[in-house]
C-alpha cells in the first residue's frame, strides 16, 4: 500500500511538473488577490496594515485552494482515470490520503509564494514575524486541502459542481479561516508563538476533523450512485 500511495503522489507531482497549470494558476490567483486588496485597503504600516496583510493572505489561500482542488479532481476525471483508481486494489482511504498529500504540497508552494508577495506588497519585513506565520498558514493549507479534496469528490459528479464546491467549502472553512487570520495578524504583530496557541489549536482541531472525515468518507463520495 505504501508503494501505491507513493505512486499516486508521485504521479500527481509529475503531472503538475509537466503541465504546471495548477501551481501557476494558484500563484497567479494569489498575486491577483493580494494586488487588488493592497490597493483597495491602502493599509500603510502599523497594526492596520498587518491585519490587512493577514486577511489578504488567507483570502488568497482560500481562492487558490479552491482552484487547485477543482483542477486536481478534474484531472482525474479526464479519460475516466478516477475509475481506474477506484477499481484498483489501492485502499480508497489511502487514495484520499495521496490526493490530499499532493493537494497540500501544491497549496504549500502557492502559499510560500503568497507570503513572499504579501511581504512585498504590504511593505513588511522578512523577519522572525514572517516565520511565525508559517505554522498557521501550513495548518490552514492542510485543512483546506482536506476539506476541498473531499468536497471535490462530490462536486465533480454533479451538474454545476464548479459552483457547488465554493458554496460548500467556504462556509465550512470559516472556523479555520477566522483562527488563521487571527493567528497570522498576531504573528505579524510580533506576538510569540505561545500567544497564538489558542488559534493554532483551532486549526489543528479543524485539520484533524476534516482529514479524518475525508479518510472515512472519500470512498462513499467518490463512487457513482
Amino acid at each position: 500500500m505504501i508503494a501505491a500511495f507513493t505512486a499516486v503522489v508521485r504521479k500527481d507531482l509529475m503531472l503538475e511538473a509537466r503541465g504546471g497549470q495548477s501551481t501557476t494558476a494558484l500563484v497567479a490567483l494569489s498575486l491577483l488577490v493580494l494586488v487588488v486588496l493592497v490597493f483597495a485597503f491602502d493599509p500603510g504600516g502599523g497594526e492596520q496594515g498587518r491585519a490587512a496583510a493577514a486577511g489578504a493572505l488567507w483570502v488568497a489561500l482560500v481562492f487558490s485552494g479552491m482552484l487547485g482542488a477543482t483542477r486536481a479532481i478534474a484531472a482525474e476525471h479526464e479519460n475516466g482515470c478516477i475509475r481506474a483508481l477506484l477499481l484498483s486494489p489501492l485502499d480508497r482511504a489511502a487514495l484520499y490520503a495521496a490526493k490530499l498529500g499532493a493537494a497540500f504540497i501544491f497549496m504549500a508552494l502557492a502559499e510560500a509564494a503568497a507570503i513572499v508577495l504579501m511581504v512585498l506588497f504590504f511593505n513588511l519585513q522578512f523577519d522572525v514575524r514572517t516565520m511565525r506565520l508559517v505554522p498557521a498558514v501550513m495548518l490552514g493549507a492542510l485543512g483546506f486541502a482536506a476539506l476541498a479534496t473531499l468536497l471535490a469528490g462530490i462536486s465533480s459528479r454533479v451538474r454545476g459542481g464548479d459552483l457547488i464546491l465554493p458554496l460548500l467549502a467556504v462556509p465550512m472553512f470559516v472556523p479555520a479561516l477566522i483562527a488563521g487570520v487571527k493567528a497570522s495578524a498576531m504573528a505579524l504583530g510580533g506576538a510569540p508563538l505561545a500567544e497564538l496557541a489558542t488559534w493554532i489549536k483551532v486549526l489543528v482541531a479543524f485539520d484533524v476533523m476534516f482529514v479524518a472525515a475525508g479518510y472515512l468518507l472519500f470512498e462513499y463520495v467518490a463512487l457513482e450512485e
Binding site: A4, A7, V8, K11, M14, R83, L87, L223, E224
Partner: protein, 234 residues
C-alpha cells in the same frame, strides 16, 4: 461450490424513474467468456459498470467472486481488469509511465519490466516514451487493454473491445483475450455485434431495452447476431 467469478442476480438499475436494466440474471464461470450484445442504449455499459462495482444497483445483486462488487475487498479488486469506453489513461503521462503506475497499483512484482513487456505485446514499444495525449484512439485503446491485463486479472470486463481498432489491432486484441481465456480468466464483453466475439468462442446474450432477451427476437437488427453462435436464454 465456489461462487462464479461474475454473477448478475436479477440485476436492475434505474436513473430516476427511467429503468436502464431490468431483471438481468446470468453468470460467467472461470475460463468462460460471455458477450452481451445490443443496440445503443440497451444498457450494456451500465451492466458492466454495475458488475465492476462502479455504480450501485437499484435492484438485485452484482457479484464478483461471490461478493458484492460495490464493496469488494482490495485483494479481490486486484483480480479484476476493466477495459471501458474511456481509456482510463493519464494523457500527460507516457505510455510506459501509465503502465508502470498501474502495475504498481496492482502490486505487480517488477512494474518497470511488466510495463516493458506489455508495451511490446501491444506493439507500442516504439511509443513507450510518447505521451498518451498524442495517441490515436485505436492506439490508446491498445494501451488501455494492456493496462487492463497488466495485473493478470482473473476477471476481465471489456466494453466494446474492438471499437476504434484496425485489423491488426483487432487481431492483437482477440489474441490477448484468447490468452486470458486459456489461463482461466472469466471474460465478459459487450459489443454492438456478436460476430467477432462469437468467432473467438464467446457465448452470446442479447440485451434489449435493459432486459436479456431470447437470442432471436422480433426486430433484431439485420446481421447483428449469427444464430449459430447464440445461446438461447432460458
Amino acid at each position: 461450490m465456489s461462487a462464479a467469478p461474475i454473477e448478475a442476480r436479477a440485476l436492475g438499475k434505474s436513473y430516476g424513474i427511467s429503468p436502464v436494466l431490468r431483471d438481468v440474471t446470468f453468470n460467467v464461470e472461470a475460463g468462460q467468456s460471455v458477450a452481451i450484445v445490443g443496440a445503443n442504449g440497451a444498457g450494456k455499459s451500465t451492466l458492466i459498470r454495475l458488475l465492476a462495482g462502479l455504480a450501485a444497483p437499484s435492484a438485485g445483486a452484482a457479484l464478483l467472486f461471490g461478493e458484492p462488487s460495490r464493496a469488494l475487498a482490495p485483494a479481490l479488486r486486484r483480480r479484476l481488469g476493466l477495459l471501458s469506453h474511456q481509456s482510463m489513461l493519464y494523457p500527460n503521462l507516457t505510455a510506459r509511465e501509465n503502465l508502470e503506475f498501474f502495475a504498481t497499483l496492482y502490486e505487480v512484482e517488477n512494474p518497470e519490466a511488466a510495463a516493458r513487456e506489455w508495451l511490446e505485446r501491444v506493439a507500442l514499444g516504439a511509443a513507450a516514451g510518447t505521451r498518451v495525449r498524442g495517441f490515436s484512439r485505436g492506439t490508446e485503446q491498445r494501451l488501455a487493454l494492456a493496462r487492463a491485463l497488466i495485473g493478470r486479472p482473473d476477471v476481465l470486463m471489456l466494453d466494446e473491445p474492438f471499437a476504434a481498432l484496425d485489423a491488426e489491432g483487432a487481431a492483437m486484441t482477440a489474441a490477448l483475450i484468447r490468452e486470458a481465456m486459456a489461463r482461466g480468466c472469466a471474460v465478459l464483453a459487450s459489443a454492438h455485434s456478436a460476430n467477432t466475439l462469437a468467432d473467438i468462442g464467446f457465448a452470446v446474450h442479447v440485451l434489449s431495452r435493459g432486459r436479456l432477451v431470447p437470442a432471436e427476437y422480433p426486430g433484431s437488427p439485420q446481421g447483428m447476431v449469427r444464430p449459430a453462435a447464440v445461446r438461447q436464454v432460458s
